[in-house]
Point group: C2
Chain length 309, copies 2
């Protein structure tokens, strides 16, 4: 239980992996007196209520935000503009409106026009997640030791930013401030391109004729299976990420394919030194990530497979 | 302890991750009366002897194989031909000569010319490993529940193939037979291309100016860090893999970049359906890998990071 002064009512729009983790963490740390959610999925509403994730669950977004002093959009980024249009009139003055989208510039462009005066819109993005989706996938410690990036608007309210920052810190996150465009560039390389190429290679493998699908599955421990974890992430969320961060993704993808063409050439012309140089310098980056506490140093992620065989 | 009739003397050329795991597993299961190794690295010899991995350790490869009835080449594939040339004359008739290289056609072409009559050359490739290297990185259970592919030569000795197959099975591996070229195609997609693109994206990230290296490290939990594990693998081993499986790697890489270009186009033209279709079908492959016992179903590989914060 933190000493954070609780919000009166926290409304989560959507109740997937991130929202259900926020609900759990906010509950554990006592960050909101009441937690409610909105989702069109009746089954998700029933599950969220039954498991005690939320106190009330609504089908209608505007009804759900009435009386809330913190509203967090936890839907795919592609629908956040439409949700903002629905709830804008129902938000009470002084309410903090935030989101958890993996893209920030596109979200601000879609949401900001629907935010009335007196509402404090503070975009946010917790860098945390797993490959699982839905209200049962969340857990209270998801944000612990992870970064949460806030991208306050140039004319945003400093007190609201501070309050939201404290909220994320109370859930265990380290908070960083950034402008929206820089956020989108950083995430393009640390997240969006890795997801794109993981999806892509799994698709390429699925299409082969010379190698059967059962062989790809059987021998996946050779490296391929790491990529399938990322390529098992929520399809709607990721479609929206790519459609809403097009510019930064295409820019980073251009660099990636340029570098890959150079590697391809090194292989074709047996340039062993070029390969060795790259393969050596990439080791240092992993060491730095482990030293920064963002990764386990256990071999193979510490995963245990086939222990029982 | 298995009921496998032990080899008289097992000689491992090299004592890195795979060789030291074989030594440990062979010890635990009683698969060889004596285990010796050869490596030019005096420190590795001392460590292998001190930890009881091997009974004797040699600097000279030919000395190490004298009296052995099973010799396994555990060096990078690029030097296997030279090693074979050194030890060929010292091998005793009836000895089984094998290897653990990630490429099979190139190894056979390099090694086979140096194998005298009466020696049974049976190429092998255990699909197991971690991102760590060296004699201390190995562990006895590395091969348990993993596949080991044997690629016996068309005119190979069936009894020798069976004996080597039993040896791997006694260490816990499931054994599969394949021809060398098909092996190289399967591994190109399940292993070589995943490694190549992991190395490549880590290199691309390292070269950015708009995003600092410290930002890449800080926010790596968004997906990037998964790739750094693979890109921390042994540089010499992987340089040799690409130089020795050029044909299959370039063929698979061509397909990968073609598919990536199609994805790039879908993003540029906002073709959400194309993205969604791919992102949906890739989920099934991961499910199948988990069902096949080749992967954990724990979220995020079951890794725990930041638990102590």
């Amino acid at each position: 239980m933190s000493d954070f002064p609780a919000f009166r009512r926290l409304t989560l729009i959507g109740i997937g992996l991130i929202a259900s983790s926020i609900a759990r963490a906010a509950r554990v740390e006592g960050l909101a007196t009441e937690i409610v959610c909105a989702t069109p999925d009746a089954d998700h509403r029933a599950r969220a209520l039954r498991s005690g994730l939320v106190d009330r669950a609504f089908a209608d977004n505007a009804e759900a935000v009435a009386g809330a002093d913190l509203v967090i959009l936890c839907t795919p980024v592609g629908v956040m503009g439409a949700v903002a249009a629905e709830i804008g009139h129902a938000l009470e003055p002084g309410t903090i409106l935030s989101d958890v989208g993996s893209v920030k510039d596109g979200v601000v462009r879609a949401v900001a026009p629907h935010v009335p005066d007196g509402i404090h819109f503070v975009p946010a993005h917790p860098i945390a997640g797993t490959e699982n989706s839905g209200p049962d996938a969340g857990f209270a410690s998801l944000f612990r030791g992870r970064w949460c990036i806030l991208t306050p608007l140039p004319d945003g309210d400093a007190a609201a930013t501070r309050r939201l920052s404290d909220f994320w810190a109370a859930m265990g996150a380290d908070v960083e401030l950034m402008d929206t465009r820089h956020h989108d560039q950083v995430l393009a390389i640390t997240s969006h391109i890795p997801h794109l190429i993981a999806y892509n290679i799994v698709g390429t493998a699925d299409d082969l004729e010379a190698v059967t699908k059962s062989e790809v599955i059987k021998f996946s421990a050779a490296g391929f299976r790491d990529f399938t974890r990322i390529a098992a992430s929520d399809p709607t969320m990721w479609r929206d990420v790519f459609l809403n961060n097009r510019e930064a993704v295409l820019e980073m993808l251009g660099r990636f394919t340029e570098d890959l063409a150079a590697l391809q050439r090194a292989i074709r012309w047996s340039d062993g030194d070029a390969l060795f140089d790259l393969f050596t310098r990439t080791r240092d980056i992993r060491r730095a990530i482990i030293d920064a506490g963002q990764e386990t140093d256990a071999a193979d992620f510490g995963r245990h497979v086939g222990d029982d065989t």
